[in-house]
């Protein structure tokens, strides 16, 4: 697997006595869009937190062939990773525009153009460009979080439940945007609860349950998998 962008093997993560991930293997190749699905508490957020350098772990995570243990989130970001968290982690008392511009903290040049692109994708953000992030509506904050991610012009984008709290119309827009992004050879790791959304975008899927991978494989092949079907439900 020489062209793996990210390779996770035998990953175990514990919070004190709670073991949230129990020996997980995941592999992401450049340009792929990977979906990680699974019920609440399955360990999806834990997985991406660990990948982004926020958690101590056992096992191995390599990004671009390098073990990430010991390197900070910032170093990963320098290497093209960007992570839009479930909690969004916005800069509450900064304006929308400041938040977005900080998204391209490490990039020099092209900031204004990307800002224009983000505003095109989320016109709502442009309307609110000088409003404090904290006072945005829930959905607006979600847009901002995604927008900030796009501002970094990432090679590898990790999205933890990007569909949360978005109106159906906006979801459609985001869906389009995501398609556009993946077409640009950006690698995407997508944790989703919204199965429709995940199925639509992912090339391959991992189904997590109770901290372990229950199923994995190409999206089409899994769609007909009995177990997955039962999970996806109605």
């Amino acid at each position: 697997m020489t062209d793996s962008l990210l390779s996770v093997s035998d990953l175990t993560v514990s919070y004190g006595k709670v073991t949230a991930l129990k020996g997980i293997d995941i592999d992401v190749k450049s340009g792929e869009t990977i979906g990680v699905i699974g019920p609440n508490g399955a360990g999806k957020s834990t997985l991406v937190d660990a990948i982004s350098g926020f958690l101590d772990y056992e096992g191995s995570i390599t990004y671009r062939g390098q073990e990430i243990a010991g390197s900070s989130t910032q170093t990963l970001v320098e290497n093209g990773l960007f992570y839009c968290t479930e909690r969004r982690d916005l800069f509450g008392q900064m304006s929308v525009e400041q938040n977005l511009r900080l998204g391209s903290y490490l990039n020099n040049g092209g900031e204004d153009e990307r800002l224009a692109e983000v505003f095109e994708l989320f016109p709502r953000l442009e309307e609110r460009r000088s409003q404090e992030a904290e006072s945005l509506s829930g959905g607006e904050q979600q847009m901002l979080s995604l927008g900030r991610g796009l501002m970094s012009d990432p090679d590898f984008l990790i999205l933890d439940e990007p569909s949360i709290g978005l109106a159906p119309v906006v979801l459609e827009d985001i869906s389009e945007a995501l398609t556009a992004i993946t077409e640009l050879d950006v690698t995407v790791l997508l944790c989703e609860q919204n199965i429709t959304f995940a199925l639509e975008h992912a090339d391959r899927l991992y189904l997590l349950e109770n901290g372990a991978v229950r199923r994995s494989g190409a999206t089409e092949s899994l769609q007909s998998d009995e177990f997955v079907e039962s999970y996806i439900g109605g």
Binding site: F54, Q74, Y83, L90, G92, M94, L102, G103, Y105, L106
Partner: protein, 285 residues
């Protein structure tokens, strides 16, 4: 007799001095969100560094340069060794308070309780529009505005400045966009050390250096940041001049006995009307 011209002149000088004193505190507290009470100690360290260097024959300008170094060094050590490992803001507050006391009492034990005079950076007087000014005071004015301008530009118009604010608001968020939060905070502390160290020299050259000289500047800095509103450099500057004016005015025209009091009462009233100070932002959480 109330002399409006001299009240005005004194306010300009005093406000500048106070702004300078508050600047380092504003940077760490207002912008980066940590209350560094050791600021009082940094001022003392700065003043005594200059006094010591001048006493060795190095001249007070060299002393000023040395004070920026000792001030920054003190902050860097304080931050690296202690503050960095603390996540509870109240503990940062108390720990820096204790650090300040350690500094104070060290000076008391080493140098003694007598005040020392830090030589003026510039001697002589000049007259502007019929009012005479000490060169030293003009220097305070100029230096203060240089620092204010530099800081304002730095925080608002540079990426690093924005990174400082971002780090104070959400450290995780800052890491997510690639900000090296540790370095940024360290830089903030070092810069504040430079500001406080130099403020100490100017303060000392105007008011004598002594082991317990940090108290007044610290209370002032705290009051200025709060009155101006946390997070606003502009607010701090305006507040510094307001407090400077109230002090001068009370002493000149009301009674020196009430000198501290009027400023404090005005602060209370302002805060009751505007609970986040003049230009403050809402506190997070």
């Amino acid at each position: 007799m109330v002399d409006i011209v001299s009240i005005g002149a004194n306010t300009i000088v005093l406000g500048s001095l106070y702004a300078l004193i508050a600047m380092g505190f504003t940077l760490i507290f207002g912008v980066a969100g940590q209350a560094n009470l050791a600021h009082g100690g940094t001022i003392t360290i700065g003043a005594f560094t200059a006094w010591y260097v001048a006493g060795l024959g190095g001249g007070v300008w060299v002393g000023l340069a040395a004070a920026t170094v000792t001030g920054a060094l003190f902050h860097v050590v304080l931050y690296r060794v202690f503050v960095r490992h603390i996540d509870n803001p109240v503990n940062v507050l108390i720990l820096t308070l204790l650090a300040w006391f350690v500094v104070e009492y060290s000076f008391l034990a080493i140098i003694g309780s007598e005040p020392r005079s830090v030589p003026s950076l510039l001697g002589g007087t000049t007259s502007i529009a019929g009012v005479s000014f000490l060169y030293n005071n003009l220097l305070i004015f100029v230096l203060s505005w240089v620092f204010i301008g530099a800081l304002f530009g730095f925080v608002n118009y540079t990426k690093t400045g924005q990174a400082i604010i971002a780090t104070s608001m959400n450290e995780r968020g800052a890491a997510l966009v690639g900000i090296k939060t540790d370095n940024i905070t360290l830089l903030t502390w070092a810069l504040a050390g430079v500001l406080a160290g130099s403020a100490g020299v100017l303060y000392g050259s105007f008011r004598a250096a002594s082991w317990d000289m940090g108290m007044t500047p610290l209370v002032l800095a705290f009051a200025i940041v709060i009155l101006g509103g946390i997070g606003s450099i502009r607010g701090s500057v305006i507040a510094a001049y307001i407090i400077g004016f109230l002090e001068v005015f009370t002493i000149s025209a009301v009674s020196p006995r009430l000198s501290g009091m009027t400023a404090l009462l005005v602060i209370i009233i302002v805060l009751l009307v505007k609970p986040t100070g003049l230009y403050g932002r809402e506190l997070p959480g």
